[in-house]
Symmetry: C2
Subunit: 325 residues, 2 copies
Amino acid sequence: MKTAILKALRQNEGYVSGQEICDALNVSRTAVWKDMKKLKEEGYEIESVSNRGYRLKSAPDILCKHELCSLIDTAWAGSEVHFFEETESTNTKAKQLADEGAKNGTLVVTENQTAGRGRRGRDWLAGKGTNIAMTLVLKPEFAPNSASQVTLVAALATASAIEKIYGAEAKIKWPNDILVNGKKVVGILTEMSAEIDYINYVVVGIGINVHKQEFSDDIKDIAGYVEQDGLPVVRRSELLAEILRQFEKYYDIFCRDLNLKNLKTDYERMLVNKEKEVRVLDSREPFNGIAKGITDTGELLVETEGKTVAVSAGEVSVRGLYGYV
Amino acid sequence: MKTAILKALRQNEGYVSGQEICDALNVSRTAVWKDMKKLKEEGYEIESVSNRGYRLKSAPDILCKHELCSLIDTAWAGSEVHFFEETESTNTKAKQLADEGAKNGTLVVTENQTAGRGRRGRDWLAGKGTNIAMTLVLKPEFAPNSASQVTLVAALATASAIEKIYGAEAKIKWPNDILVNGKKVVGILTEMSAEIDYINYVVVGIGINVHKQEFSDDIKDIAGYVEQDGLPVVRRSELLAEILRQFEKYYDIFCRDLNLKNLKTDYERMLVNKEKEVRVLDSREPFNGIAKGITDTGELLVETEGKTVAVSAGEVSVRGLYGYV
């Protein structure tokens, strides 16, 4: 019911009367009053003025279920929310839930990810209270060989959400890292469980360094956070809800065509590598070239020695020549 | 220790003395005698003749760990065996074990699979005592887009093992069903957990109807068992050990090239669809054609209206025009 009360308060810019809430939720005033009290204890500032009713003055920067559910307004992305105060990794949790039948759009969020994973089993650190650790469960109809494009859709959605919420420039390092102010602030880990010609499920894990924080010496040149000096301070739940909106929008477009044709312009606008020199590292001879953009299916186009080659994330890594970018 | 005793008995065609076993295993005669007694209780016929020693006269048709481990002689396939008296599905169990770090070649076997799965979540029935339900965990170095070929490797290995053990003709219905006497006796379910460019693991589940059995009306026209009239009665553990041998052989060849070039001749020799009319069902217009063989990466080549098209298991199903084949 806390979700419904928060929703009612958020739907009204001004005051909403206690009676209106009771009628809408079909519960007693005592019940509403009890949950209001709990919300206040959690840090929600709820003003009550006699004859006018209640007004939400401010909300705490927490990621619990009612906070998220009262903000999520998408059709299917995040239609079910599993929040954990603490969990090893939201991807691991999401895979378990998917194995047990969780539906398309199920969202897993934690406030404290204790063993976050990056690509290929590398660590991903997520500071408690400052970051977002979220994973979306997808149950697509398409074949496994289309799944690699989902990670580009997720990068595009997350970068777009950051731009929309902060009004700041977010850049994508192909295929799916996101940079703000030249430093990596988002890591995306897309995993899939599949049969030969059939996807059981895809989980898209998104880890975001949101608020100001310190990094250890070994990563401080690469890692950053979204909330640079001069940018507004935004609650993580607002950013998360915007990511869901952007993801749903772009993923629905992707699913219509099963390619990135209609997302390419947006993706390339944010592509930090574009027209920059990159180094392609793969099992053959590494080579340098100029990144020109992406193909309709998400490969990076690299111009080298007069010809353009399409580089697949399945075969290579791309590294800029100067620093991380 | 039961494994070691069985191994010692099996390595010797004739008799092996109790002392020899004790010395080899570095245990007391009492310990050996105790385990011999247990083995006899399980159904192993162990003859003991004074002054000559022990001889294994016959073994029961069971699939427990020591039975399997005393027969498995491959380098890595089945190097670790997890046997369950009963489990939902060996694939599900294998995926759990792989998530927890099970190594390449880990084998999961059950005597009673209660919720076996076929492709796309369909049921797979496995009669207790008459069938084999096994899953092999693989941790390959190759990229996710090579994984679909593993299912053809598994089909080739299993069909070859049946031919070797029974001296009977086994046929492959592309991509991975196996027929004996025109009926499906083996189902293979290959599943993968992967990141965009990295395989966490592949599990290859193989279900085999081995001994004579009855089928329900809805599948009796399609389903069969290996042990047709006239064929020898073979213990399931012997067949399983041979499948591991064949799988290891063919998979090692596959991993060298990451294609089926060197397995194609063997595969096509067993391909039941070859030179037969097939119907290709996919999201576009279905069409009929003549199956000609497979490509180097496992697609089915179908000749239709003068041209040959490569049909991928990721896009289509293939159905023969007359009956199941």
